[in-house]
């Protein structure tokens, strides 16, 4: 019934390898341009159009240089196809491509322009370094290269932009966040999200920053780079530097309007197909409810979204000010879902002193999100309901003919109020003081506050929950506050060919979280919604709660850099972290690292390669980093608390609350520690192609997991402990190319490739013995209670599917299987020993690609990403292809022809290759040549998620790493995510078409 959509089936011939090869060739072709010399002249202006004397002009990659005269003019003989670089203090360096047509060149210095890799400054944590001096693996993404579009979670801007960094959005729900995974992650229990650092403030929520406020993102990947963040550095560090006031005055508006729609629904029987089936089978009991309902379409809508951002910038020589305000209303393609955000950002800085000796810098970020969480059970209901059931009764009420196991999903979306609101705030004040010529001291205090309040009301006429409760209302409030103080001193000294720098610092972090909530049911009227809990007459002992907790982290850190002759570079760091979360016996951890780099291209013996190899650097680094996210507060202690442990006092006939021990204490609890070796090359070819290649091997020890412990003797069956070992090994390639850089036509491209192999090395130690952890719970699916689809076991990666191998259908339509001996057997003959490795959810290759073209005032760009080689369990399909369903419940179109007669059973029959490539954005823009001085107006049209290339049969091959709260409210409580399982929880990703406008007014 569903018209065939734009999903293109991946043919076997179109393999990953050929695609990668072709893309690679495209990049190489960029270098094939011949070189000639010619004399050029030009004039350099400042941002306001005034001539700029004393600016330096250098031919890139040579010592061929000059400076502009009093009238801002210069003359230089340069190679055709090469480029010149114009720099001036206080302005961003400008690069100009020299073509055979170049003659008189006017260069206008910009406040915030393109910067050459050679002088690019990279945030490394507690300071910056020139990119050329780096010894660790750090990827940088500039504002222009970030993903654009209807973005409701800031993580999305990095999708496909950094080799080795996967941005996983579990669904198309605007209110759903994203998950970041760098180099495969390191932890079973703990968060695998990289540490987020915003303007030097570590550990903040990335969504405090809106995409339009980001200047650069530096991703610290290897341990030698992240060890400066110690016990929080194991999953990488993402340093976001936001825009601040630049010289001049400008006002910018950017706006975007879009419509989003669902491109791809499951092909289920239509009402008429269902009727045909009933007629053909002669089933007399089947109930035809008379309607023609596409339940998937019934819960969907066309989403209309918009965003507006206004920015004011003002800067002088010694001060700057920038403020922005933005509004986003991102509707979801499922009714009643969406996200509305209002955000603001102010940054100001002021230098004082004759030599700019002191700098005060302050920033404030704030935003408010509003959204209405939806009940994900709607998807299961929509797939299952008989298509002849009407959405509404003739009298206009929601029909509720099926009260059996599946309910009217439109009713579930409509007849309840869920209002959530999140407030985020981040403020900081930074003071920098230069002293004794070579020292710079920085003090930084900051506060991050994050609060979520919620209100839920299920009215007395809501079929699920509301009716039985007689109206149910709930309010919740939760907040946390991170207060940080940091003080560090930098030292820099150049003595002849020796460059020395050093850093020492101290930081203190205090995290306080607290919250409360209340619920009541039994409301005489539905008029109050969730605004008058006291009016509910039914209540229970556990209906109110509050909590509070605190942790702190104290750190000392140091870094030393040494370089000799610009050829040999050495970095060493050490951090000592003490955390209140750690057990009594392990309060302090030390995290050292060292790395070296050799700029091979600066060696005399490389002179012969100067024509094509502009830069070649080898880096080797090793370090130890930690992850303490999985611990949580108070996990090491033996504590008593009030759970839901009420007890009855027969004398008074009343109930009281018991105090019980809550957990197995573990005084040895500590961080997970990751040792990582990284070897990398940076290179620049033909002055056009730059890139880097990384090889890494990391080994995580003391893996935190809530291991099953024997009862007796333990109090509870699980215990958080440091036991196992996991390894991740991989390679990454990043390429950037200015394929064509002309006066009118420009073409640049970027490509990222990542390959990671993960393995659990150990799960036991002398104290705790674990053979296998069953994960990927199927609990909550009919007939699958307590069943698992995956294992975590030594020798396998996380997310390994483990089960029976199918041998296709037998003549009666029953799925048959291979036993351990490889013989085909029926289901009844299977024993546990026949279970085997059925593949895993780890991709073999992740790819990101982007290209931008501009011709005159036109621009065109696209970006896409893909993952290849990973498997997914299509549990939705497994449950729907059930011969017991018709005529009561719906089935996929395919089912009727499939001949399947066996009831759902987990096996690789339902495991699919989930490889995909997604075209993320495609943009066409036109910049209007305005008569207004120095102003710019750009209009553009953008398509997002226009197509996905995949062979996956479900709604979407990109399946979240974390299990949604399972169907029927059952939550996978094993403490482990259930990655790669498509189980009725795929909120479809919309295809979006937008029109946008950017307008900049300069004074």
């Amino acid at each position: 019934m569903n018209s065939k959509n734009k999903k293109i089936v991946l043919h076997q011939m179109w393999t990953t390898k050929t695609a990668v090869f072709m893309i690679f060739m495209l990049f190489l072709s960029a270098g094939m341009f011949a070189q000639d010399k010619k004399q050029i002249s030009g004039t350099v202006y400042d941002n306001t159009g005034t001539v700029l004397p004393g600016a330096s002009v250098i031919e890139v990659g040579t010592k061929n240089a000059t400076t502009t005269d009093f009238d801002g003019k210069f003359t230089l003989t340069v190679a055709v196809g090469g480029s010149i670089e114009v720099s001036f203090i206080g302005s961003a360096t400008q690069k100009v491509q020299i073509t055979s047509a170049s003659k008189n060149i006017d260069v206008r210095m910009q406040n915030d322009g393109y910067q050459l890799a050679e002088v690019q400054v990279v945030a490394v944590g507690y300071g910056t370094q020139k990119k050329s001096d780096l010894t660790g693996a750090i990827s940088t993404v500039k504002a222009d290269d970030l993903v654009k579009g209807t973005i409701s979670s800031t993580e999305q801007v990095l999708q496909g932009k950094v080799a080795g960094l996967n941005v996983i959005r579990p669904s198309g729900d605007p209110a759903a966040g994203s998950t970041l995974r760098l180099r495969g992650g390191t932890s079973l229990t703990a968060s695998n999200n990289p540490l987020i650092v915003v303007d030097g403030i570590a550990g903040v929520d990335i969504n405090i920053v809106q995409p339009s406020d980001i200047k650069t993102v530096d991703v610290l990947k290897d341990a030698s780079a992240t060890a400066i963040y110690g016990s929080r550095g194991a999953n990488g560090v993402i340093i976001i530097t936001t825009k601040s006031g630049t010289k001049g005055v400008s006002v910018t508006y950017s706006g975007l309007s879009s419509i989003g729609y669902v491109n791809d629904n499951l092909d289920l029987l239509s009402a008429n197909q269902w009727r045909n089936y009933v007629r053909q089978t002669g089933n007399k009991d089947a109930i035809d409810y008379g309607a023609n309902t596409d339940w998937q379409k019934a819960i969907e809508q066309t989403a209309i979204s918009q965003s507006h951002t206004l920015t004011i910038n003002s800067g002088k020589a010694d001060s700057g000010f920038r403020t922005s305000l933005s509004y986003l209303n991102n509707e979801g393609v499922i009714k009643n879902s969406g996200l509305e955000r209002l955000s603001g950002n102010i940054n100001a800085y002021q230098y004082l002193g004759d030599n700019k000796d002191v700098k005060f810098d302050m920033g404030l970020f704030a935003n408010i999100d509003k959204w209405h969480p939806i009940d994900y059970r709607i998807f299961e209901y929509a797939y299952n309901l008989n298509p002849t059931i009407p959405v509404y009764t003739p009298s206009g009420e929601f029909s509720s003919v099926a009260l059996n196991q599946y309910f009217n999903p439109v009713e579930l979306l409509t007849n309840r109020t869920v209002d959530n609101e999140r407030h985020r705030l981040l403020g900081y004040f930074k003071t920098e003081v230069k002293f004794l010529n070579d020292f710079l001291a920085v003090a930084n205090i900051s506060l991050e506050h994050n609060a979520v309040k919620g209100g839920t009301y299920k009215p007395s006429y809501a079929v699920l929950e509301g009716a039985t409760e007689g109206g149910y209302a709930q309010r919740t409030y939760a907040e946390y506050t991170n207060a940080q103080g940091e003080l560090y001193v930098n030292y820099n000294k150049v003595i002849d060919k020796h460059t020395i720098s050093a850093l020492g610092g101290y930081s203190y972090l205090e995290n306080i979280y607290e919250g409360f909530g209340a619920q009541r049911s039994g409301f005489v009227t539905d008029a109050f919604s969730y605004n008058n809990l006291g009016a509910g007459y039914k209540y229970r002992l556990g209906d109110v709660y509050s909590y509070k907790g605190k942790s702190n982290l104290v750190s000392f850190y140091a870094r030393a850099n040494y370089s000799y002759d610009g050829k040999y570079l050495l970095t060493a760091t050490v951090r000592r972290d003490g955390s209140s979360r750690f057990g009594e016996n392990n309060k302090w951890g030390t995290f050292p690292s060292a790395s070296v780099a050799w700029k091979i291209s600066n060696e005399g013996f490389m002179d012969s390669t100067k024509g094509w190899l502009d830069n070649l650097k080898l880096r080797v680094g090793y370090g130890v980093t930690g992850n303490q996210d999985g611990i949580g507060e108070y996990k090491s202690l033996s504590i008593l608390g009030v759970g839901n442990d009420s007890y009855y006092d027969p004398v008074t006939g009343t109930w009281s609350l018991a105090y019980s021990p809550q957990q197995n204490p573990n005084p040895d609890l500590k961080w997970e520690s990751t040792k990582q070796l990284n070897i990398g090359f940076d290179f620049t070819l033909f002055n056009r192609i730059s890139g880097s290649f990384e090889w890494y091997s990391k080994n995580t020890e003391d893996l935190l997991y809530t291991y099953e412990v024997p009862q007796p003797p333990y109090l509870v069956g699980t215990m958080l402990a440091n036991v196992g070992e996991m390894s991740n090994k991989g390679v990454e390639l990043t390429l950037n190319a200015d394929i064509i850089k002309g006066e009118k036509f420009n073409w640049n491209a970027n490509l990222t490739l990542g390959h990671n192999v993960q393995k659990i090395e150990k799960l036991s130690n002398p104290t705790y013995k674990t053979d296998v952890i069953y994960s990927g719970s199927l609990h909550g699916l009919a007939g699958m209670s307590g069943q698992y689809s995956q294992i975590i076991a030594e020798g396998y990666p996380v997310g390994t599917f483990w089960g029976f191998k199918n041998a296709g259908l037998d003549s009666t339509g029953k799925i048959q299987y291979y036993n351990a001996a490889g013989t085909i057997v029926p289901e009844s003959a299977l024993v546990d020993a026949d279970k085997t490795d059925l593949g895993n959810i780890q991709p073999d290759l992740t790819l990101g690609i982007g290209m931008n073209f501009s011709y005159g005032n036109f621009d065109l760009g696209f970006s896409g990403y893909g993952m290849f080689g990973q498997k997914a369990l299509n549990a939705t399909n497994m449950m729907l292809n059930d011969p017991n369903r018709l005529p009561a419940y719906n089935v996929p179109d395919d089912f009727l022809g499939s001949g399947i007669t066996s009831a759902p059973k987990y096996s690789d029959y339902w495991i699919e290759d989930a490889s995909f490539f997604r075209l993320q954005t495609l943009t066409v823009g036109y910049t209007l040549p305005l008569n207004l001085k120095d102003s710019k107006l750009r209009l553009y049209l953008m398509g997002e998620n226009l197509f996905v290339v995949t062979s996956y049969k479900g709604v979407d091959p990109e399946i979240g790493l974390n299990a949604q709260n399972g169907v029927n409210g059952v939550i996978d409580q094993t403490g482990l995510a259930s990655p790669g399982i498509d189980r009725y929880n795929n909120y479809p990703r919309p295809t979006t078409i937008s029109v946008g406008l950017n307008f900049t007014l300069n004074k």
């Binding site: 003090a443 009716a467 750690f582 009281s656 105090y659 021990p661 609990h779 209670s785």
Partner: protein, 503 residues
């Protein structure tokens, strides 16, 4: 220069707030050792021992044990109940089919659940004893508290003795070394001694839901009744003696008063696990684990009754074991199910009528409506998942039946009659002229249907090892369950029960 000085002062202020203190401040919890010094605090600790009886749901194995997994285990391996696979529902890896056919393996989640339910209760009580040890109470005030806690712990050990036999005995909270098995005899002796030692300190009055002298006598009576099955030594007279010490109870005139929403008023209940919807106690919804999804329409015209899962039902033969005049027959729901809103028989989604039949096609493939359902506890419109009726563990009818059985076994069936008479006359059933063990066995089935204790009776009467519906002969070693496989794999000191494969 002034600027620099000012800045330096600002920066040094940071150091004044800095510190390296890493102690954890607790706000909403207390660290152990700081609790249990006042009588109120002691009550709150001891209360935890009682609340542990309700068990918990943790997704690993324990889905509300008293109405799900532990209850399921005892029922599905017995001759009174079954959980057949209906379509794809209730397959769940074959764990219920294995229980029905007596082919359970050591990785069966119901078995793990039974193990964890009891050992979690034991560990909790051990931890409470440890708290009481540390408390500043006087030794005299501690004595009755220890007695109450240890007798409760003996209840858990009695369950383990019955279910697993050779289990480790752990009494010290601080000792986290991995224990090894005790023999079934050692566990038997431990239970007997703990209860006997506790009795002098226990409350002699009838106190609802608390561990009193009467409850301890009842548990000892159960122990002696099953002594032959547990350790091979019959102790029928000891059982009789113990029963005769029990006082203060009488049969409730209405059998179903024991299973009503307000069943705490029944004069018959010796020990119960209290539940109360306002106290937020979840896990006593066994009717909902049994009835059809649409059963709520028979309880409430507006379907104001929780969902049911269409699982457990009676084995064929159980319903017809009751005479139609037997009032207790209503503990099962059978026949056409009427929608209160329409007065018509409920139509299932597949278009067929919802009629519960005694016939069940097979344990591997049953239809949605097959099997008569559990309806012993009251079903009331407006109930929530938190039910109000208490879960009955021991009631006076059992004391009467134990005495009757002992007299029959001791060769004096006539002496059994006065006890049986009370039970059967309340049910409106006739007492046969000759009382034999077969009659006692069948009367136990009718009196205690779905009360989670049939397996023990089946084993004591030996019927457990004979074929019944969907089951052939059972090997003797299956009188106790295997030690769960994950417990064995995490504790190398434990040995598997005899007869079961080591892995």
């Amino acid at each position: 220069m002034k600027i620099k000085i000012t800045a330096a002062i600002l920066m040094s202020m940071l150091f004044t707030i800095s510190c390296t203190d890493l102690s954890e401040d607790l706000y909403d919890k207390v660290e152990d050792g700081n609790f249990g010094n006042t009588s109120k605090e002691v009550d709150a600790l001891v209360g935890g021992a009682y609340s542990s009886l309700r068990g918990f749901a943790d997704g690993i194995s324990n889905n509300y044990p008293t109405c799900e997994y532990v209850f399921f285990l005892n029922e599905t391996v017995s001759d009174e109940a079954t959980i057949p696979t209906r379509g794809s529902n209730w397959y769940d890896g074959g764990q219920y089919q294995d229980a029905q056919t007596h082919h359970w393996k050591a990785d069966n989640r119901m078995i793990l659940s039974a193990w964890r339910y009891n050992y979690t209760g034991i560990a909790k009580i051990n931890s409470i004893i440890y708290q009481i040890d540390k408390s500043s109470l006087s030794d005299t005030s501690k004595a009755p508290i220890y007695a109450e806690l240890k007798a409760l712990r003996a209840y858990y050990y009695y369950n383990l003795l019955d279910l697993f036999g050779n289990v480790p005995i752990v009494t010290d909270f601080e000792d986290t070394s991995l224990p090894s098995n005790s023999t079934r005899k050692q566990v038997y002796d431990f239970v007997e001694k703990e209860l006997t030692d506790a009795i002098p300190h226990l409350n002699a009055n009838v106190v609802y839901s608390k561990m009193t002298k009467n409850v301890a006598y009842s548990l000892l009576a159960r122990l002696y009744l099953n002594s032959e099955a547990f350790i091979g030594t019959a102790r029928w007279q000891d059982c009789l003696d113990m029963c005769q010490k029990i006082s203060g109870y009488s049969l409730a005139p209405d059998f179903f008063a024991n299973f009503a929403t307000e069943n705490q008023k029944s004069p018959e209940i010796i020990f119960a696990i209290p539940y109360d919807s306002k106290a937020g106690t979840v896990g006593n919804y066994m009717n909902s684990m049994s009835c059809h999804y649409l059963h709520k329409l028979t309880v409430s015209a507006t379907a104001d009754y929780p969902w049911s899962a269409n699982g457990m039902c009676a084995q064929p033969g159980v319903y017809s074991a009751f005479a139609d005049t037997d009032k207790r027959k209503k503990c099962m729901v059978a026949g056409d199910q009427i929608n209160l809103a329409t007065g018509q028989v409920i139509i299932m989604d597949n278009g067929e009528k919802l009629t519960y039949t005694e016939h069940v096609n097979s344990v591997t493939d049953a239809k949605e409506n097959e099997g008569v359902r559990l309806g012993k506890y009251e079903m009331k419109e407006g109930e929530t998942w938190e039910r109000d009726h208490d879960l009955v563990v021991i009631r006076y009818a059992e004391i009467l039946m134990m005495q009757a059985e002992c007299y029959v076994r001791l060769g004096s069936p006539d002496l059994a009659k006065p006890f049986l008479q009370q039970v059967t006359s309340r049910a409106g059933a006739e007492l046969p002229a000759t009382i034999d063990l077969h009659f006692i066995d069948q009367e136990l089935l009718r009196e205690f249907t779905f009360e989670g204790r049939r397996r023990t009776d089946n084993i004591r009467f030996g019927t457990f090892f004979l074929p019944w519906w969907e089951k052939g002969d059972t090997e003797k070693y299956r009188a106790i369950f295997p030690i769960p496989s994950t417990v064995l794999s995490t504790n190398a000191n434990l040995k598997q029960n005899p007869g079961y494969p080591v892995n």
